[in-house]
Amino acid sequence: MPQEAAHLKVSRDGEIMLVEFTAHRILDEANIAQIDDELTALIEAEYRPKLVISFAGVDHLSSAALGTLISTNNKIRHHDGQLRLCGINPQIYEVFQITRLNNLFRIYPTVKEAKESMAPPTQAGAQ
């Protein structure tokens, strides 16, 4: 059941939450503060959050947006959760390379690959 939030579209697949952005640009400090609040609320509602954030359709971001991604990552890791990024276009990927944040985040081309990189909910008991 997808939930609608102001800046994020969140859909659930088992334990994994897929987060998409409703805007093409993640630039504005005010919007970013709200995105941060929405992400924080998502993380805190989970026991061990598993998030895939898709950047499909996003064609601009700012250093403030990177800051929110980093603090989201810190929170998720503190809760023993997992974060994956995907769907990052080449120009934005350059931003991750310049800042070396491609070394901090686990980045995958597609949502599918990002999801597959996360552990299944049960390791032995599946099927």
Binding site: L27, D28, E29, A30, D59, H60, S62, S63, A64, L66, G67, T68, I70, S71, N73, N74, Q91, V95, I98, T99, R100, L101, N103, L104
Partner: protein, 176 residues
Amino acid sequence: MQTMRVPKNKGRRGRPPDESPAASLWRRVDVPSAFAPARQVEDRILAHCRRLAYTDRDLFALKLAIEEALTNAVRHGNQLDPHKSIHIKYRITPHRADVVVEDEGGGFNPAALPDPTRNCRLSCAGGRGILLMRAFMNSVVYNAAGNGVTLTKFNDAYPRHAGLLKAGSPEKRCYQ
């Protein structure tokens, strides 16, 4: 990466860096210190560049760098004080775009910033704006006080510069 600083006599809110006959091409706009009005000027600059056939990559780079400069002016420079202003000057020609963003704050020393790409700083949330400006512009020059910055981007599609000048190596060129 290094930062070049304008000599002191060209200090804060002085004249635009280029006083050649082409200086008439400079536009100057003062806006209240807030994101919305600043972004209108930004949009105008980008529309202008688009009309002059700057590449998509150039437009992406300019938008990113201008955003970071404006954000810093509003937040760090004018410290979110709504009574202060941001002073924007720009000159767009078919082969280069120069954008000056000045605030009314006390400035800072860009040479003293920590490097945000070091491993153990990767999980710190801030401190990447100037790094990105420098990486995406051909030149990023702070004035002596540190409360004004001049961004320069060449049109990658402009034949005269093709091959000669590339973004991402700002240290190689210094002009003013």
